[in-house]
């Protein structure tokens, strides 16, 4: 059985800048905030966050904040809730939440809640249960859940529950592991997990494990390392993670490593990227792989960071 090439992954994350003519990099410009969160959280899980210049990161993050209180994906970009959560998570990683004007950020988020309890991603109004999770997670980290109508938020998520126990992006939308993570996470953060049929959903989630040991996100789809996170974290939150074959999943994730140049891909022998490197390492952390910090399944932040936020230690 192979091992986690931890050193190589650290090098990979720190050296993404040197790769030229990378089309993926071009496409990433507008979501650099997400990229930074994925990269930095991975470094933290690997115990190497001290390789980063904190002040430089924090000042860049703050430069991405818009006057509305929301954050853009990069300097000069419009604010969106997707990047606002990443910004808050990055500041939490560095214990720098104190640089935030909490009311400003949380007013921005609260302003995105709709009458039916759902959340829009930005001023243009796209609605998705992803945005419910993001809003609740942000508000919870900033300890301002009281700023929104949490009961309505929960009811909207429950209205997206399907016959298989899973959740979709809107009422009637197909169950999808990514959306399930968001809905289960949102319910966990609001203490509303009782709305879930845990046995039914747990079985659907563990049906996602295919012969190779990897997990897919919907029936008859290919396995992908990022689903290690979406499926596993959901299973942990509903206390059913022992239903899958953990050894086989660990092996699958390790098989997706580039052991020479670092990084993790979606499937064995595909090209690596920061996104799948994060989800691979985070998945292994959920599987209690030795040498990795533990990650919290609901906040998607290292457990010690979450403890620091809520217990001041």
């Amino acid at each position: 059985m192979g091992e986690l090439a931890a050193k190589k992954h650290v090098q990979y994350i720190l050296s993404v800048e040197k790769r030229k003519d990378d089309l993926v990099s071009v496409v990433m410009e507008h979501l650099r905030m997400n990229g930074a969160y994925w990269g930095l959280t991975t470094l933290d899980l690997l115990g190497k966050l001290d390789n980063v210049d904190v002040d430089k990161v924090v000042s860049w993050v703050m430069e991405c904040q818009h006057e509305s209180g929301g954050f853009g994906g990069n300097i000069g970009h419009d604010p969106h809730i997707l990047y606002t959560l990443s910004a808050v998570q990055i500041l939490a990683l560095f214990d720098k939440l104190n640089v935030l004007d909490v009311d400003k950020v949380t007013n921005y988020i609260a302003g995105l809640q709709n009458e039916d309890g759902s959340f829009s991603g930005d001023m243009w109004g796209e609605v998705d249960t992803r945005f419910s999770y993001i809003s609740l997670c942000c508000l919870s980290i900033l300890r301002r859940l009281n700023k929104i109508n949490a009961e309505k938020a929960v009811n909207y998520i429950v209205s997206c529950k399907n016959l298989d126990g899973g959740f979709g992006s809107t009422p009637g939308g197909e169950s999808h592991a990514g959306q399930i993570f968001c809905c289960v996470g949102a319910l966990a953060l609001t203490g509303s997990l009782h709305h879930i049929d845990k046995d039914l959903l747990g079985w659907w989630l563990c049906e996602r494990q295919v012969k190779s040991g990897g997990l897919n996100g919907r029936p008859e789809k290919l396995p992908d390392v990022c689903y290690s996170w979406w499926v596993l974290s959901s299973l942990i939150m509903i206390d059913r993670v022992h239903w899958i074959n953990k050894e086989k999943l660990v092996q699958y994730i390790l098989d997706c490593q580039d052991t020479e140049n670092g990084g993790i891909s979606d499937r064995p022998d595909d090209a690596v990227d920061v996104y799948h490197t994060y989800f691979g390492v985070a998945g292994l952390s959920l599987l209690e792989y030795p040498g990795l910090k533990a990650i919290d399944p609901a906040y998607a932040l290292p457990v010690d960071v979450v403890n620091r936020i809520f217990f001041g230690k």
Binding site: R19, L23, D78, G168, G202, W203
Partner: protein, 333 residues
């Protein structure tokens, strides 16, 4: 991305007279970027000019053209899409043309959130004028990828906001004819029978839907979608589900045939037994025959327990789940 052709004839913006009054603004990546980006030349130039018109809030035809260029180079940049909408509003742009534009972009980026969001914004403005176009558009995308999540979301929104339900059940049927494993089409089917204002609701549709899913199960017993669909038809009415002889008989049929994947049939049978279903001797015998039996193996009077033991063997990946199901049976006693 397929921008190679365009690149060959592309005149840099810096050499075009109609852009000579604009000073490009480079991206500020901040000091020592954490996840630094390597940029491509054309992309860099286009975005530099975009930033200039964006900062000047120039809502002009050339700015509209520039957003199209920028989107062609990177359809994921939400700020460009936002600004495009502001320009369209300011110029009172032709929204039917805009549908054509998004369709072209979607062909190579059908999994991009921004395109779908933009498309909905346009369709919302056009109202029922857009209904048939939108249904056709999603159909086109689903022809390329029948499980495209965005296309399905958009289609559900169109049906609910603009209508056009008439052929939707037929459409689900057609997609399932093409691929009976298509879980998205099964989901849509459930959405139609529970939501369509033209149909009379789940209970009235139940008999025909049970027959439909039973047929699909018999053809491919390893297909989890129709099994879950069948169960979903009895949402909130488990008693009728247990009592319907079609449910237990499809289990019997699947389990009787050799070489069938038995996992979902056994799992359904287990659920039936847990809800008080009384199995026939025939069903007991069929299950007993599936047991990896040792010498002197007596039939266990507890059929549910036997089912769990078989499942542990035929579905080793989820052995812990079936063990847990078995332990739950014990606690019921």
């Amino acid at each position: 991305m397929d921008s190679d052709e365009g690149n060959a004839q592309r005149v840099p913006l810096s050499q075009r007279p109609d852009w000579s009054d604009v000073t490009p603004v480079p991206q500020d990546d901040g000091p020592n970027p954490v996840v630094p980006i390597a940029y491509k030349e054309d992309f860099v130039e286009t975005m530099n000019y975009f930033r200039a018109v964006y900062l000047a809030d120039e809502r002009s035809p050339r700015a509209l053209w520039l957003t199209a260029e920028a989107i062609r180079l990177n359809a994921g940049n939400y700020t460009v899409w936002h600004f495009r909408r502001l320009i369209l509003e300011a110029l009172d742009g032709d929204l039917h043309d805009e549908l054509g534009f998004t369709e072209n972009i979607a062909k190579s980026n059908s999994k991009n959130y921004q395109i779908w969001h933009h498309r909905r914004w346009v369709a919302e403005k056009l109202g029922t004028d857009a209904t048939s176009k939108e249904l056709e558009f999603t159909k086109k995308i689903l022809t390329l990828d029948a499980k495209n999540y965005h296309a399905w979301s958009h289609r559900q929104w169109v049906l609910q906001a603009l209508g056009g339900w008439d052929d939707e059940l037929q459409y689900c049927w057609q997609l399932l004819e093409e691929d009976i494993f298509n879980n998205s089409a099964w989901n849509q089917r459930y959405f139609v029978i529970t939501t369509s204002p033209l149909l009379v609701g789940l209970e009235a549709m139940r008999d025909s839907e049970v027959s439909y899913s039973v047929e699909a199960i018999v053809a491919h017993p390893e297909n989890e979608s129709p099994w879950r669909y069948l169960r979903g038809l009895y949402k909130g009415d488990i008693e009728s589900w247990v009592k319907n002889p079609q449910v237990s008989s499809v289990c019997l049929k699947v389990l009787s045939a050799k070489n069938n994947s038995s996992i979902f049939a056994l799992s359904t049978l287990l659920d039936l037994l847990c809800h008080g279903f009384q199995p026939s001797q025939e069903l007991r015998d069929v299950v007993e025959a599936l047991k990896a039996s040792g010498p002197n193996d007596q039939p266990d009077p507890d059929l549910a327990k036997t089912v769990c033991c078989i499942l542990e063997g035929v579905d080793p990946m989820r052995a812990n789940y079936w063990k847990w199901r078995k332990s739950k049976l014990m606690s019921l006693l």
